[in-house]
Structures are given as structure tokens and as C-alpha cells.
């Protein structure tokens, strides 16, 4: 736990990726393999199922700290991080633990799964007493699962590659799919050649960068394959050894959420991996994404929801054929094989290719995007391999301009982590007659400088407090950008938008000049009924 707490502090103390990779590399080289496996697990955002409820943790921390609950709440508001608040409030540390990370997890944390509350409390309090302040903090991060320390999967991959001498793409692939953090797994991860034991293992996704600069700069349009950019759940459909797996890009195994795709797997030849987008689909076109959310939200998938919101996979690419990794073969080859294996009239739709002879023609066709319920174009260079991660050069996404609306800041709430105790989470309203109705929440898009200004405004112009939420004088106007718009009876405005963010602070506009609900309703797609 000592080394892990030091690693966490080292990662937390620098914003420079090279220094983070160095700290990770040094850590991986000096700790036992089981520790390295657990650390990698947490750092790439995997974690064992959460065992302890926050409410109980807070209660035990409060008892151990000897402060009243209201004071704990005050402290939490000031700190903005639950794990850190507890670490700061516990009585001063009397000792420091030499027990390695994997022992803490396997011998102390995981057994709590079958323990009752009293045993859990006793075990946790004892853990806190054995640790110093840094260790308590790292431990709290582990048990609360809020493990963010600015380390992306790619940094962990770089560090493992440095430790093992392997290519980063190999490490990246070995870290995908279903594995358990054990010493044996770590040994396989860093081994020169390892047989793949995991039949479900997906490949790392290749992701596109937004197009930079003018479309003409890409060269001749003949060198590119153009597809619509669909808005669903990016996924890999795997069929190996007569078994089918669906992995989301968030590396969640979703096979049982999509029985249609599991059935589709049986129609595919063995040893195949398809990359695509899972979409709710009916009558030859996608349903609104809100329908997908409705389906995903269901615990049990009854016949009604399956018939109302059926899904398909719109297939972009073929990564494996006859059990062989074909990612290095050119795009045309993979595309041709994909078309060959696609079963007719099935839940697999090969992503249509958009034909255009000139960029100008394509630019005109881009205007069809909204009517087609897509987000724009994907541009893929012919001859390109299927790469790992988000890379420039071979794939670009060329999205249509977002919707934009001018709205008034009406509520603000403090953020978390690095934005703790600054008002950074905002609710915006638009005019409905003489009233501002809440329309969207947005957290991103402002510079640090602007955030400080808005924060000062909120403090000076609070008209009412609801817990941590402040109602403020309706004065500041922001241009909000968003990708999609739907009717929603769950929202007071009757409208739900997708990916809202602040595009600009309209210091040139007064609140009265903000948009009205009426103008926003006009953006709604025609003929789409209320959702749910």
C-alpha cells in the first residue's frame, strides 16, 4: 500500500504525461506482479463490484472522526471529493501499512463481500487505523471507486510497454476483454509471446479525430471511403468457438442486453470480429437515441420492448476473419470480406458508403445528415489499417454543425475534483412567456478564467439557496451547443438535448435577448411523438 499511495501522489502531483508514464513505469518495475495487476486495473478504470455504500462509509468516517454529520457535509462541500474528505477528517494517523496492495484488496477488501455491516465497519475502521494519511486517501479512492487521477488507458499501456519491451498495440490488445487482476495475468501481459486464453477478447477500438481544416486538404476524394456517422453505441461483435460476445467501447460486456445480436452471432462464420454501431432500428432507419436509453434502462427485456425498440449493428469494419487478426490489411480488403460474411436480411447492416465525385458534392450531401438521423460523415482513407486508439490521419469524423441556442444562467452548483468549491455546474433557462424554464445543464466549454468570473458572479448574485445549488439573478447569457433534440415529458421544458455544452459566453447579450422555448421547439424533428 505504501508504494501504491506514493504512486497515486506522484501521478496527482504532475500534469505532464511523460512524468506520469515514468512514475507508472517505476512503480510497475518495483512491485510484486499481483500489485501491478491490481494497480493497472484501478488506473484503467476497472474495479471490483462496489462493496460499500457511500452512506455507510460516511457514517463510519463520521463516527471515527468524532464530528457531527452536518459538519461532515460542510467539509465535503469544501473539498468536493468524498474519499479525500474522509482522509482529511480521520484522526491523525498513528501508523503506516507495509501490507502490499494485493493483500489489502484480496485479504481485506474482497472478503467484505460476504460480511455483515458490523464486520464491514470494524474492518474498515481498522484499515484506516493501520494506514497513514496518503494510504487512507488511496484506499478510500479504491473502495469508493472514484478513481480518477488523470491517467488514461493509453498512459498505462505506455508504461506496461516500457516495462515489458512489447509494442504498445500488443499491450493495448492484451488489456482488453475479460481478465482478472492476478499475478498470472500480469505475467502473461508482459510476456514476450502469450497464447490468448480469452475467447471473448475484443480489439482496441480505432477512433477518429474531428476534421481539422478544410475538407479539400484531404487530397482527392477518390482516396477516401465516406460513410455516415451513426449515433449509437460503438461496439464489437465477436463470434468465436461458437460463442458470441458484444463489447461496448467502454469495455462493458453487453451481450445479454442485445439478444438480437447474440442471435446474429450464430449466423456468422466462426472466428469473426465485427466493429460497428449498435442502433435502435425500425423500418429501415434509426429510432431516436432516447429509445435506446429507454431500452438500456430496462432490467428485464420483455417482448414488448424488444418489438418496440429492436436493435441492429451497423457494421463498419471487420477485424478478424477465420480467427486471424486482419487489422493490418487495407480497408478495402476488410470491407470486401465484411460484405461477404454479412448475412442477408439480418440484424447486421453493412454501413452504407456515401458516393460523391467531388468534395463539393459531398459538402452538399452533408446537409442530408439531420434528416437521415446521423451526425455527419466518417472519412476513411483507402488502404489504411485498423489502428489503435484515437489517431489523426487515416480516419476523420466530419460532423454537422451542432444546434445552438442562447440561454440564461439560472442555477449553479459547485463542481468536483479540480473544480471543487468553484461554481462550475450550470443550469440554463430559456424564455417561456415571462418565465425562464430550465432547459439544459452544461459543465464544459468555459476557460478557467471564465469559470472564475462566473463563479464570482454566482457568489455575488445568489438569490436563493437549495442545499449546494444557488439560484442566481438571471443575467448571464451563454450560447449552448448540442447535438440532438427530442421531446421529453420528463423535462419541465418538454425538451431533452444531447451533449449540451457552452459554446460561448455571450457578454454582448442581455437576458431578455435569450431564445424562447418557442424557437427551440421549432428545432424538434417533425412528426416524432413524445418519448415514453
Amino acid at each position: 500500500m505504501k508504494a501504491f499511495a506514493e504512486l497515486y501522489a506522484a501521478l496527482d502531483e504532475t500534469t505532464k504525461t511523460n512524468e506520469k508514464v515514468e512514475a507508472l513505469t517505476a512503480y510497475f518495475s518495483r512491485v510484486p506482479p499481483a500489485d501491478a495487476a491490481w494497480a493497472a486495473t484501478f488506473l484503467i478504470g476497472r474495479r471490483p463490484k462496489r462493496l460499500l455504500e457511500s452512506r455507510k462509509l460516511a457514517q463510519w468516517a463520521i463516527e471515527e472522526s468524532g464530528i457531527p454529520e452536518w459538519l461532515f457535509a460542510e467539509c465535503y462541500h469544501a473539498v468536493g471529493d468524498f474519499a479525500e474528505t474522509i482522509a482529511l477528517l480521520l484522526p491523525p494517523a498513528q501508523s503506516s501499512s507495509n501490507l502490499p496492495l494485493h493483500s489489502w484488496i484480496e485479504e481485506r477488501l474482497l472478503p467484505l463481500r460476504d460480511a455483515d455491516d458490523e464486520a464491514r465497519r470494524a474492518s474498515l475502521v481498522s484499515a484506516w487505523r493501520e494506514m497513514d494519511e496518503r494510504q487512507r486517501f488511496a484506499w478510500n479512492k479504491i473502495i469508493t471507486g472514484e478513481f480518477r487521477v488523470g491517467v488514461s488507458q493509453s498512459l498505462v499501456v505506455r508504461a506496461v510497454a516500457a516495462v515489458s519491451g512489447l509494442d504498445a498495440a500488443v499491450v493495448s490488445h492484451r488489456l482488453m476483454g475479460d481478465w482478472q487482476p492476478t499475478a498470472a495475468f500480469w505475467a502473461q501481459l508482459v510476456a514476450a509471446a502469450a497464447p490468448d486464453a480469452d475467447v471473448s477478447r475484443p480489439y482496441p477500438f480505432f477512433l477518429a479525430h474531428p476534421l481539422e481544416g478544410a475538407i479539400e486538404e484531404l487530397g482527392g476524394i477518390g482516396e477516401w471511403q465516406v460513410e455516415w456517422k451513426w449515433d449509437g453505441i460503438r461496439a464489437q461483435l465477436i463470434h468465436r468457438n461458437s460463442r458470441t460476445f458484444v463489447w461496448s467501447r467502454g469495455e462493458e460486456l453487453m451481450t445479454d442486453r442485445f439478444p438480437e445480436l447474440e442471435a446474429l452471432g450464430a449466423q456468422l462464420p466462426d472466428g469473426v470480429v465485427v466493429d460497428g454501431e449498435v442502433l435502435p432500428w425500425k423500418n429501415g432507419e434509426p429510432l431516436p437515441f432516447a429509445q435506446m436509453q429507454r431500452r438500456i434502462g430496462r432490467k428485464a427485456l420483455g417482448p414488448r420492448i424488444l418489438s418496440e425498440v429492436p436493435v441492429v449493428i451497423v457494421a463498419y469494419d471487420l477485424l478478424e476473419l477465420e480467427g486471424v487478426d486482419i487489422r493490418e490489411r487495407p480497408l478495402e480488403f476488410r470491407r470486401a470480406r465484411l460484405e461477404e460474411i454479412a448475412p442477408p436480411n439480418s440484424a447486421l447492416i453493412v454501413s452504407p458508403v456515401v458516393r460523391a465525385d467531388t468534395w463539393q458534392e459531398l459538402t452538399v450531401r452533408r446537409q442530408e445528415a439531420r434528416a437521415r438521423k446521423v451526425e455527419g460523415f466518417m472519412l476513411k482513407r483507402l488502404g489504411s489499417p485498423y489502428r489503435v486508439g484515437r489517431r489523426r490521419g487515416d480516419w476523420w469524423k466530419w460532423k454537422i454543425e451542432p444546434y445552438s441556442v442562447d440561454a440564461v444562467l439560472i442555477y449553479a452548483q459547485p463542481g468536483h475534483g479540480r473544480r471543487a468549491s468553484l461554481f462550475t455546474d450550470y443550469t440554463f433557462g430559456v424564455w417561456d412567456g415571462n418565465e425562464l424554464v430550465p432547459f439544459a445543464k452544461a459543465y464544459s466549454g468555459l476557460t478557467d478564467e471564465e469559470i472564475r468570473e462566473v463563479d464570482a458572479f454566482v457568489r455575488a448574485n445568489t438569490i436563493e439557496k437549495f442545499g449546494p445549488v444557488r439560484a442566481v439573478k438571471p443575467e448571464l447569457v451563454f450560447e449552448l451547443a448540442f447535438e440532438g433534440i427530442q421531446r421529453s415529458p420528463r423535462h419541465r421544458s418538454g425538451i431533452a438535448v444531447r451533449f449540451p455544452r457552452m459554446a460561448r459566453w455571450r457578454t454582448d447579450k442581455k437576458a431578455a435577448e435569450a431564445d424562447t422555448l418557442e424557437t427551440i421547439r421549432a428545432l424538434l424533428p417533425p412528426g416524432v411523438g413524445a418519448v415514453d
Binding site: D12, S65, L71, A78, V79, D81, R418, A420, S421, R459
Partner: protein
């Protein structure tokens, strides 16, 4: 019981002695607890302050000001009250103000801390009926690590930066904090450690400290550095305000650098990360939560007024401990009583 003090739009006022304590506008007679700018407003007709802080106050309010210095503990009668100044342990010359009238005793803490500090006289508990306390760090998350540990951390950070070929830029308030760090480093560095450079604002106060006989590690004004100075071995002390666009541009000449901030706010990770600092060093000239509570207990006061900072939780907590407490809205606060966000320069 009559109130010896009232809060007015000029600050805390004692009618019996016709004086203000740390007024925020010019008045006829001001009693100044210490020379930080938000406590020492220029333009008053007469000032009373503790003798070790006289030169600092003069630097703040101007050479012509009428300043009457008072030794710690030396009583003086003003109108119908007797006052005396007692060490507050905040910065050089900082004082608590004791006011006595009839049998009633009030003590105004000013800013204070309980930790030892080689640059000023240690905080002295003064018995009173009513204690007026600051509450800048009045939440139990604020608990200071031992000073020696923090100084050693600064020292290690500096050494590590030297090895990595980086200049060490350390932000610290120019009056008090910077000198405390320099006094702490004195025992920790020898001449071979590397040069310590200072921003002009820091250097001016260092000079006044040295003139008062306080031993500090040797420093040189960064502006007077030779053109070929090797910044990669240097520690550079600058006020926090230099961690903004103009100051940062000026810092380009130091080459590769690591930044640190010495402040009680650094106890919270978010406060450090928000400023994009590499390191935070938890060292404050204010009392932490245990410090505030122990100062209140030591005063024996049955009534407490709470100013500056986390007034609401401190008042609530004291009430639950059976101590009559009320919040007093001084000008020294932004809104950090509730959310912990500190306005720029909130910790002079």
C-alpha cells in the same frame, strides 16, 4: 452585559476608547493587529500597534503616519478602557488586542496561529470574557502537519528539481509566509544548496525582517541576478499573484521550472490542481481547526464572536459545545465561509 465593541461600516469600534480595530476606512484612531494590507488601511490620523510590527506598518501606511508603538503587554488607557497588545504568532509584530472596562475583558485575536514560528513571538493565550476569533480555516479538514516536515518537503522538492535541471518557483505571501519559509530553510540549507532569489515584494519585507534581527536564509533580488544566472539550481520566492499571465510570462526566463505554493489552502488537492501547480506545501500563518478550538478554550471566554472565513460552521459547532457564539461580518471575507473558495490573496 454591555458590548465593548460594535461592528460599524468602518470596522470593529470601541466606543469606550473611541478607537477602531483594523478599520477598513480611514478613522481618527486605529489599533492595528498586524500589517497585512486587509488589516492595515492607510489614511487614519493615529495608529497604535505592537512595537515589533512598527516598521512593517509604516511600510504599509506611509512614512508620515502617526504610529504609536506599544510593547507586548504594556497597558495604555484610552477613554474609559484600558488596552494592551499580546503576541498573536501570525507574523512579525502581530498582536491580539485586549480591552478591559470595569470587570469586563474582551480580546480581539486578529489573525493568529499556535504553531511555533522563528520569525515572530509565539501566540499567548489571554484570559477574557469575550473572544473575537478569526476562522479562515474553521473546518476540521484543516489540520496542519508539523512545520519541520513541510520545510523538509520544500527542501526535497528543491533538490529533486535541481537534479532534473528545473528552477524551483515557490509562491508564498510576500509578508510573513516567505520569511517564515526562509527562516525554516536557514537550518536546512548550507551555501552549497543553491541560490535563493526573491521577487521585489518579497525582498522588501525580508529587509525589514532582517533589520528587526530575524535570521533568514540569504536571498538575492531576482531582478539583480547576473544575466548568466543558473536558474536550474535556484529557489525563487514570489507572491502568489505572480502565478498569473504577466508573472508567468516573466518566469519564462527561468527556463524549465516546477511550481509550488505554500499555503493552508494546499491542504485540499482541488485548490492546488485548479491553479495548475506542481506542488502544494501545507503551511499557514493562520490557526487550523484544532488551533482555533484550543485558542478559544485557553481564553476561557464564555462568549465568542467569529470573523473572517468559515464563520457559520464555527458558530454552529461552538453552540453545540455550549459556548455562546455569533458570526460577525467583517470585510475580510469573500464568501469562503461556505464553500472554501478563497478570493485571490485571501490569506495575508
Amino acid at each position: 452585559m454591555d458590548s465593548l465593541l460594535q461592528l460599524t461600516d468602518h470596522g470593529l469600534y470601541c466606543a469606550g476608547g473611541d478607537f477602531y480595530i483594523d478599520p477598513w476606512r480611514p478613522v481618527d484612531r486605529a489599533v492595528i493587529t498586524h500589517a497585512h494590507s486587509d488589516h492595515a488601511c492607510p489614511g487614519s490620523r493615529a495608529y497604535l500597534t505592537a512595537r515589533p510590527g512598527e516598521a512593517l506598518l509604516r511600510a504599509r501606511v506611509g512614512g508620515e503616519a502617526a504610529i504609536q508603538p506599544l510593547d507586548y503587554g504594556e497597558p495604555v488607557s484610552l477613554g474609559s478602557v484600558r488596552i494592551s497588545l499580546h503576541p498573536a504568532g501570525h507574523i512579525l509584530g502581530s498582536a491580539q488586542v485586549r480591552i478591559e472596562s470595569g470587570g469586563d475583558v474582551w480580546v480581539v485575536s486578529g489573525d493568529y496561529k499556535l504553531e511555533p514560528d522563528p520569525t515572530c513571538t509565539a501566540f499567548e493565550p489571554v484570559a477574557c470574557n469575550t473572544f473575537v476569533t478569526e476562522s479562515t480555516f474553521g473546518l476540521p479538514i484543516y489540520r496542519w502537519p508539523p512545520q519541520a516536515e513541510v520545510i523538509a518537503e520544500i527542501r526535497n522538492w528543491w533538490t529533486a528539481n535541481q537534479k532534473a535541471g528545473k528552477a524551483s518557483v515557490l509562491f508564498a505571501y510576500s509578508l510573513g509566509k516567505a520569511q517564515r519559509v526562509l527562516a525554516g530553510l536557514l537550518a536546512n540549507v548550507d551555501v552549497a544548496a543553491g541560490p535563493i532569489y526573491t521577487h521585489g515584494a518579497v525582498e522588501n519585507f525580508c529587509r525589514l525582517y532582517r533589520e528587526a534581527g530575524i535570521a533568514l536564509a540569504p536571498t538575492m533580488h531576482a531582478g539583480a541576478a547576473p544575466p548568466d544566472a543558473d536558474w536550474s539550481r535556484a529557489l525563487i520566492l514570489a507572491p502568489p499573484s505572480a502565478n498569473g499571465p504577466p508573472g508567468l510570462i516573466g518566469m519564462r526566463r527561468f527556463g524549465p521550472l516546477s511550481t509550488g505554493f505554500v499555503s493552508g489552502w494546499m491542504r485540499i488537492r482541488g485548490a492546488r490542481r485548479r491553479r495548475s501547480l506542481d506542488r502544494g506545501f501545507v503551511l499557514s500563518d493562520h490557526a487550523d481547526w484544532p488551533g482555533i478550538m484550543s485558542a478559544i478554550r485557553a481564553s476561557g471566554a464564555s462568549r465568542v464572536w467569529v470573523t473572517d472565513g468559515y464563520r457559520a460552521p464555527v458558530v454552529e459547532w461552538l453552540g453545540q459545545q455550549g459556548i455562546e457564539a455569533r458570526a460577525v461580518e467583517t470585510r475580510f471575507e469573500g464568501e469562503h465561509d461556505e464553500t472554501g473558495a478563497e478570493p485571490a490573496g485571501a490569506e495575508p
